[in-house]
Amino acid sequence: MTQRPALMTPSSPNSRPSSLPALGPDGPAKERIRVMLPPKPDTAQQPTEKLALPINLTPTPTPTPMPEPIAASAPQHPVTELPIKTPHARRIAIAGNPNSGKSTLFNALTGMRQKVGNYPGVTVEKKEGVFHGSHGEQMSLLDLPGCYSLQARSPDEAVSRDVLLGRQADTPPPDAILAVVDATNLERNLYLVSQLLELKIPLILGLSMVDLAEKAGIGIDCKALSESLGVPVLPLVAATGVGLVELKQWLSQAQLPVPATTAPFPEVLQLEIQQLSALLQTHSAPIAEATLLLSLAPQDLVPFSSELKLTVEAAQSRMEASGLDPISATVEARYEWIGPICALTVRKPGEPALNFSDRLDSVLTHRLWGWLAFLGAMAFMFFSIFILAKIPMDWISGAQETLGNWLQTQLPEGDFRSLIVDGVLAGVAGVVVFLPQILILTLFLGILEDSGYMARAAFLMDRLMSKVGLHGKSFIPMLSSFACAIPGIMATRTIEQRKDRLVTILVSPLMSCSARLPVYTLLIAVLLPEVASWKKSLIMLSMYVIGIVAAFLMAWLFKKTLLRGETPTLLMEMPPYRKPSVRGLLLRMQERAMVFLKRAGTVILALSVLLWALTKYPQPPNPEATGSEKIAYSVAGRMGKAIEPVIAPLGFDWKIGIGLIGSFAAREVFVSTMGIVYSVENEGSKERISALSDTMRQQQRPDGTPVYTPLTATALMVFYVLAMQCFSTLAVVRRETNSWRWPAFQFAYMSLLAYSASLLIAQGGRLLGWH
């Protein structure tokens, strides 16, 4: 979008016409500015019309952006001689391999809240932030998804490639690249850098984790590295801020130098690159674009226009004729260039002794201890959710009770008091009480992710996952879905093959998310009033297991039918174990808590009020009506009654039906709905969440039998395990799959699954003589 096609003239291949702030009055700047001024109707634009490239490759000719006036607060620069003033804040993109410490550096620079993970591909969102350079000027920072190469193999990597090459419509190519390179793994990290150098965008190399490298006995000669690569190299320790001042100083320079050095290619390849790049002059990085196109595998060429395909294929067969394999020529040339540079600049310890990570791995991926550790970690997680969270949960429900009683005495009797106490308080507080459990779950998942254990869990689970046609990487989205299906579904962007990604998206919501926790907790309390917590944990665990088993079965079914495809490949980096940062974990918990509380304060509050009104009005003409009759007369009661014939075979009555209807906005609304339904019914008597399970246990059907028999409670819980009752998830699936078809299908299959399973339990149990 912001490419300026007409500006790139073959005579100045190194000058970037994009919007570098023209700050200095020096020579090169003037020259560049001159290029920027009149959009010459030159011939370079012609080839694009002949070479119809895929949509996002074709630059849309846009007018040269008019310079914005300098804001009053912006620092003054000597710009008087230049016709164009600072057009905008300098845009810097952070690029690097997954796990190289990009996100940590991003956090250190911007101080913005963001997820820092250790599993490849946590950074899937477009993350932007603002920071101030050494002169106090504002710069914008873009955290690109981690990628191993610009030859993208996953949707994640494609985003990075498209932004850097200027193919991304909504994000112009950056003014400078901050290439983050893991000092403990220089060689492979430099591969991406060798590609970035060809973009001809000013680049600074940030050497991350130098502290860890030092500990491992690795020394890097930054000066020599900088000379070999032709770009500045800065050692950084983002956690302690080492190197950040120098980094800002470099980024604040008036004129950022464009890298001149690139990996040398064989002559034949070099020639082809030149020829093809001449046809791509309208692109923001013709050289890099041409190099990538020429090394594309036949399969990867499919989406391109036939004209471009023919051009590339002709070039590739010329290369083959002179003994060059297009697939491997560039890769080999880059590593042949990087190898000697590393040999020259890196001082390594001899044969590395078994380090901490290796020793830990020999236990955590052991065929016996590995599984025990994995199961132990999961069991401990669910145990803490029950035992540890109980204490703060009691505080919250205690506070709610006190507040409810106080309001009861302070407010005059009437509809308003009923609204506040039975609607707002019962609804919102009934949900907020589950915050501690959600925080503990988030903490556990955060520790697993940031420590690097997630990759080991994927390593352990891969064989099982591949049995149903998924791979270890699907395990991460599915585990994240225990917290919430939405981040889980977004984490599928690291999965390369589209069909595998779709299968993972379809089954992820079957994993019990934290919104189901309140429902399970309530129903388990109904089921087992006075039993030791470990039994409750066991039931809870079995609900999770049902979800997992269902997810695996459905994945297997989808892979066999709808989304048939080969078993995907797995290439997964196993990052060294790292200590999760307390700050990162706290930020993550805070983020989760904010989302949850915001929902409680908005959606759930609104729904609580709505449900209260629906259960309260219209009131029966007979003022002597009992609570139950009042509810039955209300709108909600009528809705519940309307769906009762459908849910009756599951053992659910119309009051549960009201809860089910409410749950379609969000699952935890079930708790508040039941709270409202029963408290409106018992209006006048004080109602609180801790007693809700008692109230529910006392509920009777017209024939005098209890509503919540163990069988009904179990059927209801299983219904919640399997049913798709979250509109936000459906909206995210719509966004990720780009059509309503998949969310509609997901909704249909999950509803059907939930209904059948509950029916099976209710009717099967009855046949077996249970109640």
Binding site: N185, R188, P298, S328, L354, S362, D462, H471, L571, E573
Partner: protein, 103 residues
């Protein structure tokens, strides 16, 4: 891989059990055929071009040395050490990577 279900404990002393010794003497074999702790030099690929390219980009170029670190408890995938980092890949892919075992 089934060989790794039994025998050998964990840690530095772990040796590749199973797999006929004669098999491993052969000069050219696949990465999947190496035992735990064995080192090999990559000499070629029999994989799809896209997969071959990605493996090379991850540092598994011809002539690169790699070492088998461990197999997952269920026998698949395998974790290797290449260019100073750990990579795990499936046996089915490892079978497409031709190596020369280094003694």
């Amino acid at each position: 891989m089934q060989a790794f279900w039994f025998a050998h404990g964990c840690g530095a002393g772990a040796r590749g059990a199973g797999f006929g010794r004669a098999d491993r003497r052969m000069s050219a074999q696949t990465l999947a055929g190496l035992g735990v702790g064995a080192r090999g030099k990559i000499i070629g690929f029999s994989l799809t071009p896209e997969l071959k390219q990605r493996l090379m980009e991850l540092g598994l170029t011809k002539g690169t040395e790699c070492r088998v670190l461990r197999f997952a408890p269920l026998g698949d995938p395998v974790e290797i050490l290449v260019r100073e980092y750990h990579l795990s890949l499936r046996i089915s892919e490892a079978k497409g990577i031709l190596v020369q075992e280094l003694v």
